[in-house]
């Protein structure tokens, strides 16, 4: 089970990088061999993330590895501070500097008095786990260092915590959440941590009425902001019609606001329209309605609930990333994660007449009796361009429903 045939699960360091690259007004200085930075351009370009003047490498030579000399890094930090005047410089470790134990925090502490930019060190070099660990570390440190309080209170505003540009349709999902919040509560988003945001927006976060946490990795950051600044939070993602309705109700209750009745009515109408799907299950003589789901934890959880509303049983619910950073309570719903690619391949090759909601790798592995819906990165067969096609909210549910209709046509 040691062979990786396809794309491995991105590491903590990769999750940190795609998070930090979304912060305008900041620059990343990587302390490591230049090739990794150059090589990363393909992936981050595909995710739609700008790198120029945001990401630099120091390169690292043998003498740096052997002697532990950090002069090169110190000079690079000073140079970036002077030449680009960012508000924040994130100093990120590489696998090399992490293995030799370079004290990046120490370097930052030493250089900080000489820079105008705030220096923030990330010492993860790709060995502390997959990107889920990286996202948690990034959200913790960003909230802890940038959302430092003192921001003016902006009534009627909220933050989204846990936006990850490595997640499929993340931008579209954030836009859909913003649309829902506008229509349901006339509220405005201050900051989406971390998607196309800025240092200023992150610093203004503590002025919001509420934090909407859409990934469990951002829960510690939300708790910290509640404890320190009294900003309440809710955790949840609006998947499906009923799921969206429930999500809005929880926010309304937390804020003491009434959800726009028009929005509630529309969601109720759509929820009712799903009743017919439950009847279909009794019409098929040969097949049963079942699904395989693979993706971000919240996506798998939310969409399997939505499919359940249509009478489709989630036979396999697999998280694309480790569950360890998610602080799941005992008895939480059964979503599994396996590091074994082989196990996943075996499951996928055994699927027949199943609705497969997963990544493109799964799409390649399943037989053509199945119906495939892409809900997860990595992208192999195509791209994501549209920002009006979310997975969340009623728009996402409408789209999934269309796939379900196609799937039902394959059953007998």
């Amino acid at each position: 089970m040691s062979l990786t045939r396809f794309l491995p699960v991105p590491s903590d360091r990769m999750g940190i990088l795609w998070t930090l690259l979304n912060i305008e007004g900041s620059v990343i200085v990587e302390y490591g061999p230049a090739g990794t930075t150059h090589f990363s351009m393909g992936l981050y370009g595909e995710l739609g993330i700008e790198q120029e003047n945001r990401l630099f490498t120091t390169h690292m030579r043998e003498e740096d590895v052997i002697m532990g000399d950090t002069t090169r890094l110190e000079k690079a930090i000073l140079e970036v501070d002077e030449n680009y005047s960012p508000k924040v410089i994130f100093v990120v470790a590489s696998s090399c500097s992490a293995v030799i134990g370079t004290d990046l925090r120490g370097v930052c502490t030493m250089v900080q008095p000489k820079t105008k930019a705030k220096l923030v060190a990330f010492e993860q070099g790709g060995f502390r786990g997959d990107y889920s660990f990286g996202l948690k570390a990034a959200y913790d440190l960003i909230a802890g260092t940038l959302a430092a309080g003192g921001a003016e209170h902006r009534p009627g505003t909220y933050n989204i915590l846990g936006a990850s540009s490595g997640a499929y349709r993340c931008k579209a999902d954030v836009l859909e959440i913003q649309r829902l919040m506008t229509e349901a509560f006339s509220m405005k988003c201050l900051c989406a941590m971390c998607l196309e945001t800025s240092v200023e927006a992150l610093e203004a976060m503590t002025g919001a009425d509420i934090n909407l946490v859409i990934r469990r990795e951002a829960l510690p950051a939300a708790r910290m902001m509640e404890e320190k600044f009294g900003i309440p939070y809710i955790y949840g993602v609006p998947y499906g019609y009923r799921g969206t309705s429930d999500w809005l109700a929880v926010i309304g209750e937390k804020l003491g606001r009434i959800v726009n009745p028009k929005v509630v009515g529309e969601l109720k109408r759509k929820t009712m329209s799903l009743m017919q799907y439950r009847m279909y299950s009794r019409m098929f003589r040969r097949d049963t309605m079942k699904a395989y789901l693979y993706g971000e934890y919240e996506t798998v959880s939310g969409l399997s609930q939505f499919l359940s509303d249509m009478g489709i049983r989630a036979a396999h619910r697999i998280s694309a990333h480790s569950l360890a950073p998610l602080e799941l309570r005992e008895g939480a719903e059964e979503i599994t994660h396996t590091e074994s690619e082989k196990q996943r391949i075996d499951i996928l090759r055994g699927l027949e007449r199943t609705l497969v909601l997963a990544d493109d790798t799964a799409g390649r592995l399943i037989s053509n009796t199945n119906t495939f819906v892409r809900i997860s990165t990595p992208l192999i067969d195509g791209s994501q361009v549209a920002t009006h096609m979310p997975l969340v909210g009623p728009r996402g549910a409408d789209m999934i429903r269309e796939y379900v209709d196609s799937y039902l046509n394959t059953l007998r």
């Binding site: 061999p33 230049a34 990794t36 150059h38 490498t57 590895v65 000079k75 030449n83 082989k342």
Partner: protein, 440 residues
């Protein structure tokens, strides 16, 4: 950033005594930085049918490499010949050997490759796993060639050592064979050899082509490589393998890079046919005349200032050739200066004394343009950004798939075309600045 200050950190060509120390980067913080040797190794194994590449490295190293291969037919796409052993904290502490062996067993069971290149990366090299021994052991166990290719980037400056080490490691597969009249082509990284002038000339002269490493061959071709009469080395990366083959099998080699100077190309052809013991084909005379005519037309390039970036050609040979055309090298970005470059270095110095810097750091170049005001940029840059500064790009990528006089003809034509474009850009720029022209 101050362009003057950036330039003040650099040495001029005449001041370079120790290239390893005297060639400085424009800045300490680089973007995008050079490619890594892991990518170089991948470029090499891509062209060897039947061989698998097994990366031993972090998730990140494996991810980016696989990502690069996914849409490549040569690799076999997602299900293709690029696989990996991703290492974690446990492997860093206890070593990667067992995991590699387990993964290898899985690979053998599922794909039964003819040969495997185990490509190490920075971390396994830092922790010091003995991959030469692991490869040896696996080779004995599974009775197939298994080669260890070391690609730690902290010991080299770019991806080329990765290509070099992968093709040199292929030596292990070669077996004694009776000599025939074929040639091997070693070191072609881009394009298909069958599309080059050199291939056509050899074909017409009745000289068969054997192994093409790494641009397209099979494991079987490599096994039979020792049957060739001559190795044609088309890039420095092929030299270590050619030297090994000469030492073990007595195979002579000819250095036939992508020379831009017709004189150098003629010499390479003469050497090649002398080793082959075949008369020089008549058509070479006409090809040379065509190239010289193209170069003569480039006489109009006198005094044109340029910055040299990354091209498929030999950096100092191309710059030396341009210097003989009267062009003015202002800044040369290079990986280093080799002993073999000395003649070209002298040619350049006779015409100018350009600044020398390391490649792959385009961000600070923007400030250098304002200072040096070049007309041409050779290499990869953002064309639109350069146009705004009155600079035209000399596109040279197509030259990557050429060998022979066609390189000189193509290069001269590209230089002439780009110089005309630069003149047009500057005319439009001046008109716009005086408020009477169209927007660039």
């Amino acid at each position: 950033m101050d362009g003057k200050e950036l330039l003040s950190r650099l040495k001029r060509l005449s001041e370079i005594e120790n290239p390893g120390k005297d060639i400085h980067g424009l800045t300490y913080a680089q973007f995008p930085g050079t490619h890594c040797p892991l990518m170089g190794a991948a470029m090499a194994v891509r062209g060897i049918r039947g061989a698998y590449m097994m990366i031993v490295g972090t998730d990140e190293c494996s991810y980016y490499t696989k990502h690069m291969t996914i849409h490549s037919e040569d690799w076999g796409g997602l299900m293709g010949r690029c696989v990996s052993v991703t290492i974690d904290q446990h492997d860093v502490t206890f070593g990667c050997a067992r995991k590699t062996e387990e993964a290898f067993a899985e690979l053998m069971e599922e794909a039964a490759p003819e040969a495997v290149y185990i490509v190490t990366t920075c971390v396994p090299e830092i922790i010091g796993d003995d991959f030469d021994a692991i490869a040896e052991r696996l080779s004995e166990q599974y009775k197939i060639p298994v080669m260890a290719v070391h690609t730690e980037h902290f010991k080299c400056e770019n991806h080329m050592p990765g290509v070099e080490r992968a093709i040199t490691a292929s030596f292990r597969m070669m077996e004694e064979r009776p000599r025939n009249n074929s040639v091997n082509v070693i070191g072609q990284r881009m394009g298909r050899f069958e599309d080059t002038e050199l291939y056509r000339v050899l074909r017409d002269a009745g000289v068969p082509v054997g192994a093409q490493l790494p641009s397209g061959c099979s494991v079987e071709d490599i096994r039979n490589a020792a049957s060739a009469a001559v190795n044609i080395v088309v890039n420095d990366i092929g030299l270590p393998l050619a030297r090994k083959m000469k030492s073990r099998f007595g195979t002579p080699y000819v250095f036939f890079d992508k020379f831009t100077d017709p004189e150098h190309i003629a010499t390479a052809y003469e050497n090649l046919f002398a080793f082959l013991g075949v008369p020089m084909p008549d058509e070479l005379g006409e090809l040379r005349r065509n190239a010289e005519a193209a170069v003569e037309a480039a006489g109009t390039l006198q005094g044109v200032p340029f910055i040299y970036g990354n091209t498929p050609f030999r950096c100092f040979e191309a710059c030396g050739f341009m210097a003989t055309l009267g062009m003015q090298p202002q800044l040369i970005q290079c990986h280093g200066i080799a002993d073999a470059d000395s003649e070209d270095v002298e040619r350049i110095k006779a015409a100018a004394d350009p600044y020398i810097t390391q490649v792959a750091n385009i961000a600070p170049l923007q400030y250098i343009y304002d200072e040096l005001k070049p007309k041409l940029y050779l290499g990869h840059e953002y064309a639109e950004r350069l146009r705004k500064k009155g600079i035209a790009i000399v596109h040279t990528d197509a030259g990557g798939g050429m060998l022979g006089f066609e390189v000189a003809t193509y290069f001269a034509q590209q230089l002439i075309g780009a110089t005309k474009e630069a003149a047009e850009i500057n005319t439009a720029k001046e008109a716009e600045e005086s408020g009477r022209g169209m927007t660039l």
